[in-house]
Amino acid sequence: MKNNASLYKTLFKSTFFLSMFTFGGGYVIVPLMEKKFVNELKWITEDEMLDLIALGQSSPGPIAVNTSILVGYRMAGILGALVTVLGTIIPPLIIMSLLAYVYRAVSTNPIVNNMLLGMQAGVAAIIVNVLYNMASRIIKQKKIIPIIVMILALIAGIILQVNILWLLSISGIIGAMTTYITLKKTSTKEDEN
């Protein structure tokens, strides 16, 4: 393959530009990352990329950051991961720092205020739409345990104000147990065959 310096340079440039010019967060950046590394550069196979994306979604933190770390690690080890994570976080770091200054300067301006007021309603709609999609995906699976967990977590989170970390830990344990049981069931079935 290519020599090291140009490998790092391409890794940095690819993740930097994806993060710099992609609106809409991880769910938009990740498919573009796939296009870049699988289709254009042909560094990673389609199947492996799907595994990397699944891993990225399974880890805590921003999905775009996680996936870029995995791609960097796959191509050039720990140093590669460091290069891609920097490529991903530097653009928002610059843009948002500038924006924070502008915000403080103009947030009392009536026109800016009216714009932000209008956008608030837009943001509320975007979040409700995201929630609708996520919840319907869970309900459509027609499995009883996830639906019960979702309803209980809603009650516990909103009405009883239970701490977020408790809710995550308990549902994680339930997830681990159900997976363990399903994995065991499928393996005993395979044994019988």
């Binding site: 993060s19 710099m20 010019f21 992609t22 609106f23 809409g24 967060g25 991880g26 891993l55 979604q57 399974s58 880890s59 805590p60 933190g61 921003p62 999905i63 950051v65 770390i69 991961a81 994570v85 653009p91 928002p92 770091l93 843009i95 948002m96 720092s97 915000y103 947030s107 714009m115 932000l116 007021l117 209008g118 956008m119 608030q120 309603a121 837009g122 943001v123 509320a124 709609a125 979040i127 409700v128 739409n129 995201v130 929630l131 996520m134 919840a135 869970i138 996830p146 639906i147 967990v149 977590a153 809603l154 989170g157 977020i164 995550l168 549902s171 994680g172 997976t179 399903t182 994995l183």
Partner: protein, 187 residues
């Protein structure tokens, strides 16, 4: 010291946000509003609005901006590094095991178990955002005369455009921002 506090708060946010940018919202809300009182509800929504409008991962945008609001330029850098650090550590560990054993079923199973709870958590942050957008605050009791009619209309139209015509979030942000400028100039 504010930078250490900021780092630890955002480290926690990064560590426990399973499922991308929106999953970080309830944690950012908890850490910056409820626990530390660094920002107000109104600022939280402004931060979210600006993060949605700008390119890049939403959680990183929100971290940089929030840190910057609280403790200036360095605050933004500290918050961003804090929110990214858990990803770097955990993802590298997972990657190591993945390339060694090529088996991620158990990890995926746990995450699948987390998903319903994550939906509920985002819903609780979403409720704060929704109520603040509609009433101007998110604390009970709500009075009908506080209801902002313009926001209600913009909300309903936005939902309709996303569901029926598949408009993207950035298109919704531009449309609702422009509508805000035009409508509030006359109201």
């Amino acid at each position: 010291m504010i930078y250490i506090k900021l780092f630890l708060s955002f480290f926690q946010i990064g560590l426990f946000s399973f499922g991308g940018g929106y999953a970080a919202l309830p944690l950012i809300e908890q850490q910056t509003i409820d626990v530390n009182g660094w920002i107000t509800n109104q600022q939280f929504i402004d931060i979210l609005t600006l993060s949605e409008m700008t390119p890049g991962p939403i959680a990183i945008n929100a971290a940089t901006f929030t840190g910057n609001q609280i403790a200036g330029l360095l605050g933004g850098v500290v918050a961003t590094v804090g929110v990214t650090m858990p990803s770097v550590i955990i993802v590298l560990l997972l990657a190591y095991f993945y390339f060694k054993y090529q088996n991620i079923k158990m990890v995926q199973g746990i995450i699948q178990g987390l998903r319903p709870a994550v939906v509920a958590l985002i819903a609780s942050a979403g409720l704060t955002i929704f109520l603040t957008a509609m009433f101007g605050h998110s604390a009970f009791p709500f009075q009908l005369n506080q209801l902002k009619i313009v926001s209600v209309v913009l909300f309903i139209v936005s939902i309709f455009l996303m569901r029926k015509y598949k408009l993207s979030p950035i298109q919704i942000m531009v449309l609702s921002g422009v509508s805000g400028i035009i409508v509030y100039a006359f109201v």
